[in-house]
């Protein structure tokens, strides 16, 4: 028995050796803060005095107030619109580039530039574009005689969230485009050649060859976009700070405000725990439905 265990350790030892540094890093920088966050969510703590155990009071407060539902609604709205927009636009552009339309190299490069820009730069830039009195968008609308469509883009509760979604879609469509394009380009050319010989048209090529072949990468891209969108913070904080009238408040801005403006670290931890739970549930459901967790056997 001992000999067998020793042999097993010899066989697997090198495997553990390779995995351990990553496990250590994940443990210290991910698992520990997560456990600490869950622990703190049961305390009242201002970051200075000793934490005071209050049980589930933070959670009761959180779900009793309207703020969390308001932030949750905006987070979901943003996530749905942003993921739909970035994936659809990215897919369309990838399809166009994959068909080698005229100037495809330029489009591929140009559309990826936005991804390379820091979010803070994009947010500040677009905040200027959206400025109601001298901003580029309203100036453009005025110059082409569409003054009636000018808006107080970021200051009006009706348009603020939509404006942020538009910026986000603009910035991240290049990212989905690149991933999906890579997936499309990995399809065996013989499949396309065979289909061409069979007399397939372009619509059929997209729906019966390209899309089924990139189904798994497409699911991965959607999954990544859901996670990215759900935890987006910087673009909201810089462009609107959650305003006007909390109409762009999302869970992340609420968390930041609760922790760093109000000094309620216990309540902020409760928000983070709720966020982790929501995103885990969405991810698990999606993994199950998309069967991404299953091993592909070629």
């Amino acid at each position: 028995m001992v000999v067998k265990r020793k042999r097993l350790l010899q066989e697997w030892g090198i495997g553990y050796a390779f995995v351990l540094p990553a496990v250590a890093l994940v443990g210290v920088f991910l698992v520990y803060p997560l456990i600490r966050s869950i622990y703190l969510s049961f305390f009242s703590w201002n970051g200075i005095s000793a934490p005071k155990f209050i049980g589930l009071v933070n959670y009761v407060k959180l779900f009793h107030g309207k703020e969390i539902w308001n932030a949750f609604l905006h987070t979901i709205l943003y996530t749905v619109c942003s993921v739909t927009g970035t994936v659809l636009i990215g897919l369309l552009i990838a399809l166009a580039i994959e068909r080698r339309i005229r100037g495809w190299r330029f489009y591929k490069f140009a559309l990826y530039i936005s991804v390379m820009l820091p979010v803070t730069v994009v947010a500040v830039l677009f905040a200027k574009f959206f400025e109601p009195n001298y901003g580029l968008f309203n100036a453009l609308l005025r110059s082409i005689g569409l003054e009636r469509f000018t808006q107080n883009w970021l200051g009006d509760p009706k348009t603020a969230l939509g404006s942020i979604i538009a910026v986000s879609v603009w910035q991240y469509s290049g990212f989905t485009m690149l991933l999906l394009l890579a997936a499309m380009e990995s399809i065996d050319p013989a499949v396309h050649e065979a289909a061409t010989i069979d007399g397939i048209n372009e619509r059929q090529r997209i729906f019966y060859i390209t899309l089924p072949c990139i189904k798994r990468p497409l699911f991965v891209v959607v999954m990544l976009q859901i996670i990215f969108s759900f935890k987006t913070f910087d673009i909201f904080w810089i462009m609107t700070g959650g305003g006007p009238a909390l109409k762009t408040e999302v869970l992340t801005t609420m968390l930041y405000r609760t922790a760093f403006s109000y000094g309620k670290y216990g309540l902020a931890s409760a928000i983070s725990v709720v966020m982790i739970l929501i995103i885990s549930l969405i991810s698990l459901y999606y993994l199950k439905k998309s069967k991404l967790g299953e091993q592909v056997v070629e």
Binding site: L9, Q10, G13, I14, Y16, A17, L20, P21, V23, A24, G27, V28, F29, Y32, N46, G47, I48, S49, A50, P51, A127, K128, F130, E131, P132, N133, Y134, N152, W153, L154, G155, D156, P157, A160, T240, G241, G243, P244, A245, L246, K247, R257, F260, S261, Y262, G263, Y265
Partner: protein
């Protein structure tokens, strides 16, 4: 065998790393050994170190003008105390706002003196014994007269002690105007609200924005600070600024009228359209580009605006300063200020007397005058000479004259907890954009206030 050894070593490393992670508690914030008012620091070293003994004071500072202020004081202090060195450690503003307690509390930082806001975590740090009381200096230096009681009251903690002192101030609701445009159209600076309304109509007829007023990204509270000081009687204002009072409700007529006035300013075009989507730099851009005749901005902005215009290759215009008129003729408004830039002695200091001497020097009349002469910041003391203030520029001199003439009051937004400020910003957004009526804004604020009081 070797593989096993490697695996074991890594397992030990993992365990140690986890322990190291667990050892970090309270996000690095270590509550000091409360050398608070009741427990004065044992290390009552003499103010002046013995001959030949070299001591160093460590000072935590915010990068920028605060560090300039400390550097200026350092020179003067070292001239008096040649065997003392002062080490100034700079932090950026976000570190200060978000991690003040960690900065001051970390034992390895070993700070003697610090600069901080009388905001954010200040109150919690006072309660947790981070600072030494400065009561003796308040009395011996008579800071009550030099700073004015509206300012010194702000630093009196619930336990009756003064834990910090205001070293510089800014004023918020200054009105700057484009002198060239005013002259061109023959307009005079309005001194009453009726004149302000008439001026506003005339400016709009010329296609100009009368007053650029930032109303977004946290600047909403300034608009309300302006209106509160111009619509509330001094008694009402004092009540409104008391975070614990329950007499003047937020859904009272006075408050609702303030919301109505804000809405009226927006709807009548007195301030730019879509003010809720305009931040301070956007408002400045409207003024600098000549689209707005006037701008409401802080005391720091006047010189910045003028120097930007002076550097304009196309030839900028001259900037004038005036007070925004009172909404009611019966009210003589005081100037709302932000007296939250303060210095304090940390309770972890090993040389409390020396640290206090340094603070004493910073707050001395001569040093406050030197601060103004070096054009670093507006001194908090109100008794500095006019000659020293003149170095801060023509616009600041006018502001000082008004400050002396009308007096100052701390802004409502300075005295309120952050949750009330956010509620104010939300309500202001709601009213300016028509999502909330003034009555709804009042009800919303009252509900928030009750929640804050309950907590």
């Amino acid at each position: 065998m070797k593989r096993n050894k490697l695996a074991s070593t890594l397992l030990v490393f993992l365990a140690l790393a986890m322990c190291a992670g667990c050892a970090v508690t309270n996000n690095g914030a270590a509550t000091p050994n409360a050398a608070s008012a009741e427990q004065p620091a044992e290390a009552a070293a003499s103010a002046v170190p013995a001959d030949g003994e070299k001591v160093t004071l460590r000072v935590a500072s915010l990068a920028g003008v605060t560090t300039d202020m400390f550097k200026l004081a350092k020179e003067a202090f070292i001239a008096e105390h040649p065997n003392v060195d002062i080490e100034i450690v700079e932090f950026d503003s976000s570190t200060y706002m978000e991690k003040g307690p960690q900065v001051f509390g970390a034992a390895e930082n070993n700070f003697d003196v610090a600069w901080y806001y009388r905001a954010f975590s200040w109150q919690d740090m006072c309660d947790a014994g981070y600072f030494l009381p400065l009561d003796d200096l308040y009395t011996s230096e008579d800071w009550f007269s030099a700073l004015g009681t509206p300012v010194t009251d702000l630093y009196k903690n619930a336990d009756g002690h003064y834990y910090s002192v205001c070293e510089s101030v800014v004023w918020i609701d200054n009105m700057y105007y484009n002198k060239d445009l005013m002259e061109k159209f023959g307009w005079s600076v309005p001194t009453t609200w009726d004149e302000f309304v008439a001026f506003s109509e005339a400016a709009q007829k010329e296609g100009l924005i009368p007053l650029a007023q930032a109303g977004g990204s946290g600047a909403q509270e300034w608009l309300m600070d302006i209106l509160l000081t111009r619509m509330f009687t001094p008694e009402e204002y004092q009540l409104a600024c008391d975070p614990t009072q329950t007499t003047l409700r937020y859904d009272s007529e006075q408050w609702i009228n303030a919301w109505k006035a804000a809405k009226e300013m927006q709807d009548s075009g007195m301030i730019e359209q879509g003010a809720s989507g305009v931040n301070t730099t956007d408002a400045q851009a409207l003024f600098l580009s000549g689209k707005a005749v006037m701008i409401a901005d802080g005391s720091w902005a006047g010189n910045v605006l003028q120097s930007t215009l002076d550097g304009d290759v196309n030839g900028g215009f001259k900037v004038g300063y005036a007070m925004i008129p009172a909404y009611n003729d019966s009210i003589v408004p005081k100037i709302p200020n932000y007296p939250c830039n303060c210095v304090m002695v940390l309770s972890t200091t090993k040389q409390p007397d020396l640290a206090k001497s340094f603070v004493q020097l910073i707050m001395s009349k001569s040093q406050q005058e030197a601060l103004a002469k070096a054009a670093i910041n507006n001194p908090a003391r109100t008794d500095v000479s006019a000659e020293s203030v003149s170095a801060l520029g023509e616009l600041t001199v006018s502001m000082y004259q008004d400050m002396v003439k009308y007096g100052v009051v701390p802004m409502w937004s300075v005295l309120m907890p952050q949750e009330m400020l956010d509620a104010m910003n939300t309500a202001c957004d709601g009213v300016l954009t028509g999502v909330m009526t003034p009555d709804e804004a009042g009800a919303y604020m009252q509900k928030k206030y009750e929640e804050v009081l309950a907590n």
